[in-house]
Symmetry: C2
Subunit: 347 residues, 2 copies
DNA sequence: CAAATCTTCTGTATCGTTACAGATTTGTAT
DNA sequence: ATACAAATCTGTAACGATACAGAAGATTTG
């Protein structure tokens, strides 16, 4: 039972330093550094009594593995990289997203590193950086394109990642997405139910995948509910609110404008409302609108607008869970989820 | 001139691996690893010809120092930790803040790690974590309290940090802050100019430093412009919008309410507007309001509200610059900045 | 011309961790 | 007894970078 506390050997030197390391525990328990390491990761060749003893000491002195040591030796960074477009900032998606991700990572050893990029042209840069420097174990990207070079690159390198948004390359990869098709379809339905027939869509920029979805849902609605789609292509959700407002004002001034609007974002809706009201239209009377609603802004300040909520925080949680699962080797096809529009208070 | 390319020595082994390291460069140049390391950091005992040669090769093969190696050896993490309260999420401050910080860090080797905490009670946890594990070289915290234990702790340990918001402990530390005193004072002035005399303030939670500032500015305005402050203490900016609305509705229902409101946040203003309109008041007629305005929401949907902008992105930039400077040893007293309300379009 | 000095370069040890190849003890089979 | 296997434990080397203490050759000094 009582193994001699080996001494006199080339035993580990006293720890001395500040923060406890494996050496500290080895010294305190009289075990070898290797044994301590293996005990802490529950290796099969360590007696359960020793494991217990090591764990106890480790807990007592508040041992936490040195990340640099682990990373240098194993290559495991314990980092998830969230790659953000600065455009997203405008839409205010970042905050709840980060919160959702953090909620999941909090229970793990993972840290969240945020890496933004400027223009869509540079979207590949941060991904390359992570791949080349091994800066993270997994990556979360958003604003996917149908043929997304980032996805192609990471799949080719077999690097764990998840996308916020789908792609159309015939490649199976983890994603979480909001069902923008359904959103737009339901939006058209609501407008049609109010007798609106001449509809416009404030849509995403055309190179993003969710443009296709939103557009498809919109057009399916148009067909199913016998409405007409008017063009509104001069601006999209990536334009500044001032530009959106400007374009919308021009449209209303041209006369013969829409009697129903679907807005792909809450802030976009604000610009549209400003424009239509500047043009003398009255919401709920001359024209109706359906929009995504990030907060309660529209619901409270323009209750005439019908709103649906997209739960970005949930998206963050799903995305984080998916990368982690991917890192652990779960197959990509099990890591694809959709979320659906949440109806907010009806008028 | 031509130093013999030393060979036959215990020269470095071929690099072989994927990513180039110092060893790779050493092998390619025929120099020692140490020499390469010192050449790259422009040490004085390396000839400028060698430096040039090393730099050239390093650039050619795209050498980037291994972060884990540096971190393990030197303790330098090249990480800035942004410690966030989940409460901030609600106010949507995170996004532009992260963007601002990233803008500054992009030009450096630093990565940004986001570490959120749940309740105000746990605010100390992430700070302790960073201090104990050495997870970062510098920390950015916000939501400071007059006697902030995080500040005390980090100063005691002489750990580089900057706060978003000031403290009142007689400790000199780097900060960036928005002048909420001025904001509230100017807000009262605007209301007084419109003849409003019975004012309420939707204020921050009382334990935060900027409560004191906003309150002070408000009350100074009250005195200077001969108005009256009505109590509105049941809720603050940390409460949910629903709660704020509820409390405001109760206030209006009680009769004899305010004829002017100062709202410390844009989203809070929305709740207040919803409440006052539900109570039959009309903005700009029965009552006036001044608010911070994060976007264009208020300006476009309730142009009657007078707004001022707080540039959070700028705050992010200033905070990042300050931690970096502090890490480089600049004295704290040189790293204290204030930003001022930006008037948005007048009615 | 030997000694001292300067210039430039390099090997060794180390940070904390883990993979790997033993080592030691104990128990089992022959 | 002797060999063999099982159960536990441990030293060494390595990941990539840098601090430190030389080392080798060239140059100056008296």
């Amino acid at each position: 039972m009582d193994r001699k506390t080996s001494d006199g050997q080339a035993g580990p030197l006293p720890p001395s330093g500040e923060r406890p390391t494996l050496k500290t525990i080895a010294f305190m328990t009289g075990l070898g550094i290797t044994t301590v390491s293996r005990a802490l990761k529950d290796a099969p060749d360590i007696s359960s009594e020793t494991k217990e003893r090591v764990r106890l000491v480790a807990r007592q002195i508040g041992y936490q593995p040195n990340r640099a040591g682990v990373r240098l030796r194993t290559g495991k960074t314990n980092v998830i990289s969230l790659i953000l477009s600065l455009e997203e900032e405008i839409m205010g998606l970042t905050s709840p997203m980060v919160v959702g991700i953090s909620e999941v990572l909090a229970a793990t050893q993972y840290h969240l590193v945020v890496t933004p990029y400027r223009a869509q042209d540079n979207a590949l840069d941060p991904v390359r950086y992570v791949l080349e420097t091994g800066a993270a174990d997994g990556v979360i990207i958003s604003r996917t394109e149908p043929k997304d070079p980032r996805v192609a690159l990471m799949m080719e390198r077999n690097f764990p990642f998840v996308t916020h948004g789908r792609t159309e390359m015939g490649l199976v990869h983890p994603y979480h997405d909001f069902d923008n098709e359904r959103f737009a379809y339901e939006a058209v339905r609501k407008l049609a139910e109010r007798g609106r027939k001449r509809l416009v869509l404030l849509q995403p920029p055309p190179y993003l995948t969710f443009y296709l979805h939103m557009r498809a849902g919109f057009e399916r609605g148009i067909r199913d509910f016998g409405a007409t789609a008017l063009p509104f292509n001069t601006v999209n959700l990536d334009n500044s609110l001032a530009d959106i407002r400007g374009a919308a004002e021009a449209m209303f001034a041209a006369g013969d404008g829409p009697d129903g609007i679907v807005s792909g974002s809450g802030s976009g809706a604000v610009a549209l409302i400003a424009a239509l009201e500047a043009g003398g239209r009255r919401l709920g009377q001359d024209i109706d609108m359906v929009s995504k609603e990030p907060h309660m802004f529209l619901q409270w300040l323009r209750p005439e607008v019908m709103t649906m909520r997209e739960d970005i925080r949930l998206a963050g949680r799903e995305l984080a869970k998916a990368v982690l699962a991917r890192i652990e080797g779960r197959p990509a096809e099990e890591l694809q989820t959709l979320s659906y529009p949440i109806p907010t208070g009806e008028v």
